[in-house]
Assembly symmetry: C2
């Protein structure tokens, strides 16, 4: 029988792999917007299945370990955190697919509208939030996890800017309405990805510190 | 020491209570759109905290039972399902708050734009999906859970209709652009709520049948 520690390490590394896949899909989806590159859109769509399968696989592993090893304290929290984190990563994967689809909409329209610097800033911010949660999870670093909670407000502000800019664009050039809506939805989806990264960061703090910061950090 | 069965029943009833609160918040949020009633918006915003607290409470209860009772088979699946389901219910709560905020945007604009029958149809469809998952969970009814998986496609079609109608509106009347965007986002949020209800239905099927239908049912 394998050591429990080895099994937990395997679970950790699978979670990280899932997170990295999701992050790289997001990077590709946003690049497909900038470059209007259909092949990147297809890569994101093709990759969704593998991400979904990873959720099933990790949940199965966590549930099996709960049953066979009957862990307590930190190990128990690690397994329950894994079940919550895969849910969030899978949703980020879905939102990434939505971004790729918006990108296709834009390409089909041959519209001149490209993502604004604010959208690109949102993208790099939420991807960094995502990488930070994963890193915090791997190294048991609560400070890093907490830094993600604060970044979420910046994401919300950027989303408002993106929204107001595009509303102006639509008023000035009604022909750009479909492209502008597509980009507003991209902004919304990036914001939601930031929310999921925040959820993961909260789970990581709970895992490490045994302290529930959910729905409280935002008040700080 | 209390009976494990009683504790599981308590967990079940708390999950149902959380689900019912979320459903009733959604109903209020959409009614606030129709009636342009700010007091309903406030009720939804005020109720968010209680929903968030329920997630923390139920997760704590599930984790404690995992630690103390070290359950196997169906009881283990019930507890892991609870952890997944609270994540989805909490996200539905967030999306409901977004809808209430869109409603406020519309009211502030004194725009003539009201939600179309398609939006109302989406609302009643996703609320019925939500109630069905909860009912399927309570009565261990996989057929009911599976019916939710199929309803999801109808929600997606309605969302497309809502989107296209509002795009037309914006072209015809640029003054209505902000209200139209608010309603497009309502449509998107209702669609995402349908996605979360689908996730819950998949968890319920897994719980009852021990069979993972996630990311597979949609192919059927």
């Amino acid at each position: 029988m394998r050591h429990f520690t080895t099994e937990l390490e395997q679970l950790n590394s699978k979670l990280l792999e899932m997170g990295n896949r999701v992050e790289s899909a997001l990077q590709r989806a946003v690049r497909s917007l900038v470059d209007q590159d259909e092949s990147l859109v297809l890569e994101v769509l093709d990759g969704e299945h593998a991400i979904n399968q990873m959720e099933i696989e990790i949940d199965g592993l966590a549930t099996r370990l709960l049953a066979l090893r009957q862990p307590v304290a930190r190990d128990l929290r690690l397994l329950t955190a894994a079940l919550k984190i895969t849910t969030d990563l899978e949703r980020i994967g879905d939102l990434t697919v939505s971004i790729a689809k918006s990108s296709r909409t834009l390409t089909l329209q041959k519209a001149a509208l490209r993502p604004s610097p604010h959208i690109l800033q949102m993208d790099s911010l939420v991807r960094s939030m995502l990488l930070k949660c994963l890193d915090a999870f791997l190294h048991g670093n609560t400070d890093l996890a907490r830094s993600v909670l604060f970044a979420d407000e910046e994401v919300d502000l950027l989303r408002d800017t993106v929204y107001l800019d595009l509303q102006d664009t639509m008023r000035r050039e009604p022909a750009l309405i479909p492209s502008a809506i597509a980009l507003i939805l991209v902004g919304r989806n990036l914001e939601r990805i930031g929310d999921h990264a925040t959820n993961i960061a909260e789970d990581v703090v709970f895992l490490i510190a045994g302290m529930d910061v959910r729905h409280r950090a935002k008040l700080a």
